[in-house]
Amino acid sequence: MLWYSEGKGEEDLGVHFFQRIADRSLLPPAAATGAFVTPLPQSPLSYEGVIVKIRWCVRVRLFFEGGRDFVSEHVFTVGAIPPGRLPAAKS
C-alpha cells in the first residue's frame, strides 16, 4: 500500500505497507476474498489538485515461476479534501 504524487513535475511516493508472500501457507485468511487490513496514517491525505495530486493505492505484483510478473493497481481515497479548482479567469 503506497501513496504517490502525480502531476507535471517530479514524482514522489511513500510505501506505507509492504508484504512479500512467498509461501501460500502464509497468506492471510482473508486473502481469498482480496481483503486485508492495515492501519492508515494521518497523512498525506488524497488530493485531487490541478498541478499535483496525491493518490493512495493498493499495488499487487504477482511473480510467476517462469519469471514473468503482473502488476495490478487500485486507487482509493484517504480523507475528504475537496478537489482543487482552477483559478478564476481574469476579466
Binding site: 502525480e6 507535471k8 513535475g9 514524482e11 502488476v71 487500485h74 481515497t77 478537489p83 479548482r85 482552477l86
Partner: protein, 241 residues
C-alpha cells in the same frame, strides 16, 4: 467523494521510458535495428537533438535493449558541468564492453569530455550519450520533432482512455507544438494544463460542482462510471484489472 482521473500528460505517463520511442514522423523506432547500427559504429555514439525532442526516452529504451541482449549498462544523468565524479566512478568500475548511457553529455566541458572518452577507451567500455549538437562521437540518430510526432505521442497517451480524446483536439496539439518551438516536453506540459481545464469543465468530473460533496450518491455514481470508462491511464503496463 469525488472522482479521480489520471491526467494522461502527467509525468507519470510521460517521463522518459514510459513513452515508446518514435521517429520524427511519429512511427515507432525499431530499437533492435538501431542497436545493430550502434554496433556498426563501434558501440559508442551520440543521440543528437534539441531540448525536449525525446533523446532521453530513446536512450532509456536503447539501454534496456542492450540489457536484453545480454549487455551491461550504467545510466548516468549529467546535471551540470561539475558533475564529473559519478562519471569517473562509473568508468573506473566499468567492465570491458559495458555501455555507459550518459544523458546530457554536452553539459560537461569539452576537455573533460575528451579525458573521459580517453579513460572509457582504456577501460574498453562504450559511451552512448545524448547531446544537443554533434560532439565528436558518431551520430546514431539526429532528432528533429514534427507535429506528426507530437500527435502520435498524444494518440498513444490517450489509448488507455479513449474518452479523453474528446478533451484534446488536434488543433490544441498543433498549437502547443508551435508555441513551444517543437519542444515535445513543454508541449506535453501545456497539454497537461489544457486537460485539467477541460476535465473540470465536464459536469460530473473532478473539481466540478456535481462531483463534489453536495450529492454523495452522485459522487459515488461518478466514481464507478469513471472507473469503468477510464481505467487508470498511469497504472503499470501489465495491469490485471
Amino acid at each position: 467523494m469525488h472522482a479521480t482521473v489520471t491526467n494522461p500528460f502527467s509525468t507519470r505517463c510521460t517521463r522518459p521510458g514510459r513513452i515508446a520511442p518514435r521517429d520524427d514522423a511519429g512511427h515507432l523506432v525499431d530499437v533492435g535495428a538501431m542497436l545493430d547500427r550502434l554496433e556498426e559504429l563501434g558501440g559508442s555514439a551520440a543521440i543528437v537533438g534539441p531540448h525536449g525532442s525525446g533523446k532521453s526516452t530513446l536512450l532509456l529504451h536503447l539501454a534496456a535493449a542492450i540489457e536484453r541482449r545480454g549487455g551491461r549498462t550504467t545510466w548516468i544523468r549529467v546535471r551540470s558541468g561539475t558533475d564529473v565524479r559519478p562519471l569517473w566512478r562509473a568508468i573506473r568500475r566499468a567492465v570491458p564492453r559495458e555501455t555507459l548511457c550518459i544523458d546530457s553529455w554536452e553539459c560537461l566541458p569539452r576537455p573533460c569530455r575528451g579525458i573521459l572518452r580517453l579513460a572509457a577507451g582504456v577501460r574498453g567500455c562504450r559511451l552512448l550519450v545524448t547531446a544537443h549538437h554533434p560532439i565528436g562521437l558518431p551520430v546514431l540518430t539526429a532528432r528533429n520533432p514534427s507535429r506528426r510526432l507530437l500527435r502520435s505521442i498524444v494518440d498513444s497517451l490517450l489509448v488507455p482512455a479513449p474518452c479523453h480524446a474528446a478533451l484534446i483536439q488536434p488543433a490544441d496539439i498543433d498549437a502547443a507544438f508551435a508555441r513551444h518551438g517543437g519542444n515535445l516536453r513543454e508541449s506535453l506540459y501545456e497539454l497537461y494544463d489544457r486537460f485539467e481545464i477541460a476535465v473540470r469543465s465536464v459536469p460530473g468530473q473532478v473539481g466540478t460542482d456535481s462531483a463534489d460533496h453536495d450529492d454523495p450518491a452522485a459522487g459515488r455514481r461518478t466514481i464507478h462510471e469513471l472507473a469503468a470508462r477510464f481505467s487508470y491511464a498511469g497504472a503499470p503496463d501489465r495491469n490485471l484489472g
